[in-house]
Symmetry: C2
Subunit: 186 residues, 2 copies
DNA sequence: GTTGCCATGTAAACTGTTACATGATTTC
DNA sequence: GAAATCATGTAACAGTTTACATGGCAAC
């Protein structure tokens, strides 16, 4: 059985990891934004839930307290917990930093809830290292190409670089948070 | 005839707007990264080019200088120029800022090449206004929810906010560039 | 003469979008 | 009893990914 999932699938697993919910609850979370750029359309969420159920990662049960509307409450199956943790734990690759920043941030958002502070700190260290390696190559690309680029192209590229720099700074201050918390616990 | 296009389609139009190229050239540009997060897979690019051609936005001609390999060189048709400019010119909406930042930056990167400095400056003003309106609502969401969130969740959200703030700052300094250039020209 | 890159494309599977459909239950 | 909202889903379509297929040319 294939246990590959789209990003939406993992987002659903992550939310269900917190506590069981219905498809409608999940839609509301996506609709009220602030949480990534996921669609709240039923045509995305219900099929995704169905796939997760077929894979045995979640299970849905119809709640039927007499007076309530029909509502399927989904919760993580043990297999789902394993798959979710494995996803969160994946090493941070250069490729992720370049093409899947959104996925990385989603994984991080779910990290200490599912795997604890140590894994969160580890993630940040890897993330920092990859960023620190990648940023200079972007800068070099900019330097060698400025002359050939229109102003807006140059500015757009600089915007990308500044974004990565902001994230590097963020990773460092965040790491400091975890270090402080660790020291307080000792 | 429908003139709707995916983001990849517009990226292709933008590159072909600079100068005619083959599908393979386009793939190499995407592969050598630095340019957005587009896939360089032939299964994405060749069908996209075919769609653009069917819509009459581009035209492909086989180059056949005797000793060369078969190579289809694509160039923009007049209709393609119009469609591309209309895309670049679209107003910047709140929704774009939330869910389609990548598309916005791509549009901006192509702006002054296709529509000139004035449109680029206009874009930046709209972008700045939308960001300035959106950021406070994110901050408020953070403030009201900090207590219920795990540390990593909070940090991830803060990372998002910092990203938007970096872009706001970028928009303002970029606008200053266009203002300066305008003054120099007068 | 075989390895590897140039250059094109196709096919199947999957995911997400848009739009529609349905029915129950509050609320006014 | 009409309107809004809760709650679930389906169908048609478009686009992407992954993997495969093909053939010419260049280098060794």
């Amino acid at each position: 059985m294939n246990t590959n999932n789209s990003l939406l699938g993992f987002a659903l697993l992550g939310l269900l990891h917190q506590h069981p919910m219905s498809g409608y609850d999940l839609r509301k979370i996506f609709a009220s934004s602030a949480m990534g750029s996921f669609s709240d359309s039923p045509g995305a969420i219900y099929p995704a839930l169905a796939r997760l159920e077929v894979q045995g990662l979640i299970r849905g049960k119809v709640e039927n307290s007499a007076s309530l509307r029909k509502r399927r409450l989904f919760k993580l199956a043990p297999k789902g917990v394993t798959a979710f943790r494995a996803w969160v734990k994946r090493p941070v690759r250069r490729d992720d930093v370049i093409r899947r920043l959104g996925e990385l941030m989603l994984r991080f958002a779910f990290t200490d809830q599912s795997l604890g502070d140590r894994q969160a700190a580890l993630f940040l260290k890897q993330f920092e290292a990859e960023l620190a390696g990648y940023i200079p190559s972007l800068k070099q690309y900019l330097d060698t190409n400025v002359s050939k680029m229109p102003l807006s192209g140059r500015l757009a590229l600089e915007c990308g670089i500044q974004e990565y720099e902001a994230r590097l700074k963020w990773a460092r201050t965040s790491l400091a948070f975890y270090d402080r918390r660790k020291r307080n616990k000792l």
